[in-house]
Amino acid sequence: MRLRRANPIKEILRPLGQLLIFVVGSAVIISASVLLLALLLRPTRTDIDIFQVSLILLPQVLIDGITLGFMYAIIAMGYTMVYGVLEFINFAHGEFVMFGAFAGVELLIWLNAQGVLRTSEIWLALLWLVLAVLLGMSVGGALAVSAERFAYRPLRGTPRLVPLIAAIGVSFLLQDTMRFLQSAINGDFYRTFPEFGPFAQRLTLFSLSIDERPINIAIQYKALLLITFAIIMLVALNYLVNATRLGKAIRSVAQDQRTASLMGIDVNRIIALTFLIGGAMGGAAGVLWTFRFTRADPYMGFIPGLKAFTAAVLGGIGSIVGAMLGGMVLGLLESFAASYFSIFSRGAFGAEYKDIFAFGILILVLIFRPQGLLGGKTTQKA
C-alpha cells in the first residue's frame, strides 16, 4: 500500500490560515453587528453615548473573547475527535480538563514551596509553565485512556445511550474523587495557581480617553502566551491527523472500523490513541484555564466542558476545523454578550445571562443546521 505523502508545510500553514480567517472573520462580523446595534440604539439613550461606550469596550472584549475562544477550541477537540471515531459523546471530557488543571497546579504549588518559582527568570518561568502544561497533558491523557479502557470499551457495541450514561457516571466519579482527594489532603476544595514570572504584566496597545480620563487598552502577556500555546496545539493536532501515518489510521477508523481492521489497523489501539490525544488537549486546556483564571476546583470542568461541546456541535461535530471555528465563535459571542448585555438592556440583564447565548445557540444549530456550520458531506472526519 502506497501512502500519498501530504505536503508537511502546507499542512502547517493551512490550519494557521484557517484559524486566522476564523478569528478575524467572526471578530469582524460580531463587532460590526454590535456597533450597528449601538448606532441604532443611540438616539434612544440620553444618559450615555452608547456608541462611544461600545467602541471603548470593543478591544478588551475582543481580546477576552479570542482567548476564551481558543480555550473552548482546545477543549472541543477532545469531544470532536472521540465523536469522529466512535460517534460517542464523552461527557467526562470536562473532568479530564479538571484533573489536568489540578495536576499542573499541584506541580507549581510544589515548585513554589521549594522556592524555585518566585526567583525564576522569564525563561525559567516559561519552562516551569511548559512543564506544568506537559504534566497536565499526561494526566489528562492517561485518565482518558483509562476511562476508555475500563468504562467505554466494555460497552462498545451496546445501544448509543449506554456509553453516554456511563460517561456521565465517569464524570461524577471523577469530580467526587478529586473533591475527596482535595478535602482529605488540603482540607479545602480548590487550589490557587501560584503567582510567578512576569506573566501578569500587560502590554499596552493604545490609550483612549473619555471625559479626560485615560483608559489603557492592554493585553496581558498571559493571554498572549495562552493563545500561542493554543495555536501550537491546534496546528500540531491538524498536522498529526492530516499528514502522518497515525492520522491516516485515525481517519480510516473514523470512516469504517471494520474495513480499517481488515486493512491491518489495530482499531482498539487507534481508539485509545484518539482518547489519549483528546484527553491530553483537555489536560493542557485545564492548566491554561487555571493559569488565566487562578482557581482550580473539582467542578471547574463541567460548564467549560458543556460550552466546548456546544462549540463542537456548532462547528460540526466530528470535524476538527469545525471545532476550531465553533470554539472561536462561541468564545467571542459569550464575551460580547456578557459585556454588552447590561449596557444595551440598561442594566436589566447582567453578565450572568451570557450562558443563555451559548446554549441558545446550541439549540438553534440543532434545529436548523444539525450538521453544524462546517458539517455535512465535505466534513473531514477526525
Binding site: L57, I210, K222, T294, R295, S335, S342, A351, E352
Partner: protein, 417 residues
Amino acid sequence: MRKLNLFLALLIVSAMVISACAPAPQPAAPVAQPAEQQPTAPAAPAAGNVIRIATQSPLSGPQSVLGTAIKNGAQLALEQKSGKLQEMGFTVELAPYDDQATPDIGVANAKQIVADPSVLCVVGHLNSGVAIPSSEEYHNAQLAMVSPANTNPLVTTRGYPEVNRIVGRDDVQGVVGAEFAFGEMGVKSVYILHDKTAYGQGIAEFFRQKAEELGMTVLGFEGTEEQANFDSVLTPILAANPDLVYFGGIYSQGGLILKQMREKGIDAQFLGPDGLDSSEMANLAGEYVVDMYFTTTAGPLSLFPKAQQFIADYEARFGEQVQPYAAEGYDAMSICLLGIEKAIEENGGAMPTRAQVAAAVRATKDYDGITGVKTFNEIGDLTVAQYFVKQVKSADPAKWGEAEVVKVLDIPAPAAN
C-alpha cells in the same frame, strides 16, 4: 441521524436544566466534626428557686476556640455578677450546650433547653446559620436569647420579641462602607459588584442606597455567580472607570475579582465587607491586597477602654488568652442577668415567667458593657452599633491578622420593616 439530533437536543436541554439547578459550588463551609458527644444537660429537675442560663456555641470541632470563648466569657460574667440574684434568694447556674456549629444540633439542644423550665435566658450562638433555626424554638417558648456574635440580618428582622443581639448587622456594613468611601477615601464614583447571595447582595444594596444618598455616582450594579472567569463583569468596569470598586461577597470570589481587575488595568480602590476578611484573600490576590479596605462588625479588644480588667480576670480564671467573642459572651450574659433581676423585681420578688424576662431583656437600655454601650431597639438590634474599617498592610497570608483598624464608625440600626 435525525433521531440522534433529537436525542442530542433533549440531552442539552436536560443538561441546561441540571446546570441551572445546581448552584455553583461554594467554598467549603467549615463543618463541625460530628464525633463529639452532646453536652451533659443539667441533671436535676428545676427546683423552685434555681435559675439556669444556657449558652449555646460550638465547644467541639474547628470553631470550638470561638465557641469556648463565648462560654467562658459568659461563665465569668455569671460568676462575677450573679451576687444580686443570690441575695434575692435564687441559685444561678450555667448550662453550657455544644451546638457543634451545626443547625440540627443547635435545634436539638434548643428543644432540650426549652424543656427545662428553670432556663430563663440563652446566650448564643456563634453561627447565624445555627442561631436562626434554633431561635424559632426559643421564640415558641418565649425564652429570651442574647446573641454575642450573629450578624445575619434575619436573626432580628423576623421581629421576634425574644431574640436580641449585641453586635452589628451584616447589611449595615454596606452603609459603613459607603460612609467610609465618601468621607475618608474621597470617592466620587463607584461600581458595585455582589455575589447574588442574601449576604453579599444585601450589603451591596445598602451600599448603593447610602452611596446615592451621599451623592456618589453609582456607575454599575452587577451580580455574578462565576467562580473563576470574571472577564465579563470586569470589562464594563474598565470603560466606566470608577474611583472605587465595591464587592459585596466572600473572599473566594473577591480575591479573584481583585486580582483580575488589577491585571486588566483597573486601578480603582477596592472595598468590601467582612466576607473578605480571610488570609485566603492574600493567597488569591497576592500583592494586590495591600492597601485594600474591608469593613467588619468585630473590633479588636484593644480598642475598648474597659477591656483591660476583663482580660486580666479572664486569664486569671481560665489560664488562657482571651479569644474573639469572649467579651461579647460576657456582655450577653450580663444583659441576661440584668434582665432576670429586673423581671424578678417587677414580679414582686417571685420567680418570673420567661415572657417577663424576655420583655425585660428587650427593654435593656444604656447597658455599659466591655464592648460598648448597648441599647436594644424594638426588634432586638442595637440602636447604635460599632463597625470597623480595616486596611490590609501585608501581602503575606500569615500577617493577615495585622490589618490595621483605620476607622471606627457608630451607625444606627436600619429601621425595622
